[in-house]
Amino acid sequence: MVPHINFKSGVPVYLQIVQQVKAAAAGGTLRPGDPLPSVRSLAEELRINRNTAARAYSELEAEGVIETRQGAGCYLKANGVSPLRRTVRSDRLAEELDAVIVQAHHLQVGDDELLELLRERLREFRERLAQRQRVEAAPH
């Protein structure tokens, strides 16, 4: 899984990587135990500074999304249990949601429409996950 960087999004580059790895984990594209590209190849692939790639990984590690195995690279952590306390977790989420609300306001998307969109996205993620599980369960 290689993230895609959009320099026009206004989101810091390291944060784009963090968000996309988390999204891939939530959507089932990345599964527990899956390897991530090394800092070096990630930097080369995305044409970004090595320090930026390293910062993204240390952030993901601090949040308990990935783990570094000595000399063997980074992996998506089994069972993705967030080590952050519940209040910290909801604070983080609130920040992200604020950004979405601001963006919705700019795009003139009303409250009801936004809520409906959120429900639709949640359904979409659930379906994707279910689909992956079906594919796995199917005999080869």
């Binding site: 320099f7 026009k8 999004s9 070096r40 080369e44 044409r47 500074n49 090595r50 320090n51 003139q108």
Partner: protein
């Protein structure tokens, strides 16, 4: 950690032409610092002051906390400089040119040298007189990076190169350079070709007519500089009404504004004019550069 480069109020003139006017900037260790400006903006003059190739008329220069005029050898042993035009002794081949360079250096990483030679496909037996402009730059960069300096100063490293080669090449070089000790390997790169450095630059200064017109972190700048594009049912309002908008373009029903950190307020004002749609996106470093050297509003 003290800064690797610290320029304070640097001023220099050639005859009656002022090349630098009160330029100040600070580069922290491990940073990839962009020095952006048009041709003739004063980039090379500033770099020459940094390397003690030129004494500034006034102001101070500090590299690794030392004055390069008083500690020239100590400063130069810790940095490598690749100018925009590289000269080699024409009778040498690639191998001899690298050996010659390494003879001046305390450190020389043979593995890095071999890796880059093979990556660029340079034949060590080839005479340097037969190298293309791009190959000469590649050779100079191999020499600079194999010496494992703490500071790499690049002056227009990719100008005159094939655009396809350019991006891959700069990524390879800077990646190889940062490999061993990323926290302490500092890059100072002057260029007017900004796109290929977009993801590498941590911080930058835009130089225009010898003055620093903008200094910012790359992420910070991209989140502040935004383009707002509104489409109206009828004719778009005049952009001049929007205070805080840096530049604007009006084309029939479409109005485009560029803002610097004032986005939310200008967006409110824009929305109050009742547009059909409003979109917003960040500017790339190259667009930020163009906006800052062009100055304020280009009225339509």
């Amino acid at each position: 950690m003290s800064p690797v480069i610290d320029l304070r109020e640097l001023t220099h003139r050639y005859g009656r032409t002022e090349a630098l006017h009160g330029l100040s900037l600070t580069v922290e260790p491990g940073c990839c610092y962009g020095f952006f400006g048009r041709n003739g903006a004063g980039k090379t003059t500033a770099i020459k002051c940094l390397l003690n190739l030129l004494r500034p008329a006034s102001g101070s220069v500090s590299v690794f906390g030392m004055d390069p005029a008083r500690h020239e050898a100590a400063v130069k042993s810790r940095l490598a400089y690749v100018p925009d035009f590289v000269a080699f002794y024409p009778w040498m081949n690639v191998r001899e040119a690298l050996d010659y360079q390494s003879s001046f250096r305390v450190r020389w990483n043979r593995d890095t040298e071999a890796m880059l030679l093979s990556r660029f496909g340079l034949d060590v037996r080839q005479p340097v007189s037969g190298l293309s402009k791009g190959q000469r730059t590649q050779l100079a960069l191999i020499g600079a990076i194999s010496a494992e300096p703490e500071l790499l100063v690049l002056d227009e490293p990719t100008s005159g190169l094939d655009p396809l080669v350019r991006r891959e090449f700069i990524q390879t070089v800077i990646g190889a350079y940062q490999e061993a000790d990323p926290g302490r390997r500092t890059v100072f790169v002057s260029t007017h070709l900004i796109t290929e450095f977009e993801g590498l630059i941590d911080r930058f200064t835009v130089l225009e007519q010898g003055r620093a017109v903008l200094t910012a972190g790359a992420d910070e700048a991209r989140s502040k500089f935004r383009r707002l594009r509104a489409v109206f049912e009828g004719d778009a309002p005049s952009g001049a009404e929007f205070r805080g908008a840096k530049s604007f373009r009006r084309d029939g029903r479409t109005l485009e504004l560029v803002v610097n950190g004032d986005g939310d307020r200008v967006m409110e004002q824009l929305r109050s004019c009742g547009p059909r749609t409003v979109e917003t996106e960040s500017l790339t470093l190259e667009e930020i550069f163009l906006t800052s050297v062009r100055g304020g509003g280009n009225a339509s």
